[in-house]
């Protein structure tokens, strides 16, 4: 579903990813772990098309299409969801308006009919409820005044509303207490665990993987995947540390 070959990405003039290979087949959840500065967030942003993250070599295809040729909003419409490590605040724009316009923009790009206001509200309330986010939060400006945990729950609500084919979740577990971690983990399973979907979980810690069982775990270090394995690899990393495992 997501195939990355020999990916090189630079920010400014600084090379961050240096020949990354990764293949996530349809129906699988893969975790990418790695120390600070390994290039985890750079991978997420490069796949999401963030300006300033320049792909200097290599390829990335998503569901058979050249991902790198697409604008960020086209990637979203194609079914890619990027969960942000630091969800962005947008004062003055309500979460409901933001998500309704976003979803309908995606649907227009795909040539589908727009969702009516009533249908959208129903969908949004249902997803907020499932994530334990008070529906009133959706009336507030996007992420403004949300706690760290609420922001991450809200990202999962957004994912539930968009119902993407593939999710790249960049440290969605950082800054969460145990209850929120559990809610977010269950959200990922509920929304994305399906034979026709896929997930790339980017994380520092093993703890999210207690809730979301990965099919494969990859270790990213100095811009490349240096080791891949089953779920046990995450436990080994937790026990022994990156330095030991990568060496």
């Amino acid at each position: 579903m997501l195939n990355i070959e020999n990916l090189h990405v630079a920010t400014g003039d600084k090379p961050i990813l240096k020949g990354l290979d990764l293949d996530v087949p349809t129906g699988e959840v893969h975790a990418i772990m790695g120390p600070n500065g390994a290039g985890k967030s750079t991978l997420a942003y490069a796949l999401g098309g963030r300006p300033g993250y320049e792909v200097t070599d290599g390829s990335a295809t998503f569901a058979g299409k050249d991902l790198l040729e697409m604008d960020p909003h086209e990637r979203a419409a194609a079914g890619l969801f990027l969960g942000f490590q630091y969800p962005v605040e947008i004062p003055g724009v309500s979460m409901l308006q933001f998500l309704r316009e976003s979803l309908n923009a995606q649907r227009r790009t795909r040539g589908e009919e727009e969702l009516s206001g009533a249908d959208f509200i129903r969908l949004a309330k249902e997803q907020a409820g499932a994530l334990g986010l008070a529906p009133d939060m959706l009336k507030r400006p996007v992420n403004v005044g949300f706690s760290g945990g609420e922001k991450k729950r809200a990202e999962m609500v957004q994912m539930g509303i968009m119902a993407p084919k593939f999710a790249i979740l960049d440290e969605t577990d950082s800054g969460l207490d145990i209850d929120a971690l559990k809610a977010v983990g269950e959200g990922i399973n509920r929304i994305m665990r399906a034979p026709d979907k896929g997930v790339l979980l980017i994380t520092h810690y093993q703890r999210l993987l207690d809730y979301v069982q990965p099919d494969k775990v990859h270790v990213l270090s100095a811009g490349r995947i240096v080791k891949s394995g089953g779920p046990d690899l995450a436990l080994q990393l937790e026990r022994e540390g990156y330095a030991e495992v990568v060496a």
């Binding site: 604008d71 909003h73 969800p87 976003s102 790009t109």
Partner: protein, 246 residues
């Protein structure tokens, strides 16, 4: 008899399009007079006239305990000017929420004098400018607090967003205070659309023009909160913003 045409040496006209003003000057009547009687309250909305040159002037007196809520969209294609001279008596309240939305060569300005002449009055002015192409948007606002006007509470909250390198924003909040027990706040910022907000919106599926329009709507949207997003002024502002980002 018409007063002589102002020049840019005139402080209240330092950013004005004098040539455009000259074209309508002889036809401008005296400023409209608005009086709010004691303990009455009034809400008014000023929409653009639709003419390329659109000058609105008012002398407003808010009597004791009275209140005026004034909403204005300044969006003429060539020259838009909103000029207010407001006098507040004891316990009066003046709330002014205005936006300059312009593109092309438009010059848009809001020029206010707010006079607190008696105690316990409040005035809040919130002005947002969104300027594309070579547009110029200005706010010149004077708050004058007389010696008798103790417990005055006034605020000037001025923000501008520039969508092009050639657009210009001017903000000049000014305080003249003769009373010693007052709270007068003012703030002015000029900025550009936030790259990270734009990217976040794009990552959720919004094409660039729609993302910009939405962020700008958020930037000025708070102005019309009390009127609701379906109000005529909110809808008109939304249309202008979409034109600006197309």
């Amino acid at each position: 008899m018409t007063a002589p045409l102002p020049t840019r040496a005139d402080e209240a006209f330092r950013y004005a399009d004098i040539k455009a003003l000259g074209e309508v000057w002889d036809d401008l009547g005296p400023p409209e007079t608005v009086e709010i009687a004691a303990h009455k309250s009034l809400q008014q909305t000023w929409l653009p006239s639709g003419d390329p040159i659109d000058v609105k002037r008012a002398r407003i007196v808010i009597e004791q305990g009275a209140a005026l809520e004034l909403y204005a969209l300044n969006a003429a294609d060539r020259y838009g000017r909103i000029e207010l001279d407001v006098t507040l008596h004891a316990g009066a309240d003046f709330a002014f929420r205005a936006a300059n939305v312009g593109s092309g060569d438009a010059t848009l300005e809001v020029v206010t004098v707010v006079r607190h002449v008696a105690p316990d009055a409040t005035s809040t002015q919130t002005v947002r400018s969104v300027l594309g192409h070579k547009a110029v948007g200005s706010y010149l606002g004077q708050v004058a607090v007389a010696r008798e006007a103790q417990k005055t509470n006034s605020e000037q909250d001025i923000k501008a967003m520039l969508l092009s390198r050639e657009a210009t924003a001017n903000a000049k909040p000014e305080l003249e205070i003769y009373a010693d027990d007052v709270a007068c706040a003012h703030g002015a910022t000029v900025g550009e659309l936030d790259a990270m907000q734009l990217y976040y919106a794009a990552a959720r599926g919004l094409p660039p023009a729609q993302a910009k329009a939405l962020l700008l709507e958020g930037f000025i949207g708070g102005l019309w909160d009390a009127l609701g997003e379906d109000s005529e002024i909110a809808a008109l502002a939304r249309t202008r913003l979409r034109e600006l980002t197309r």
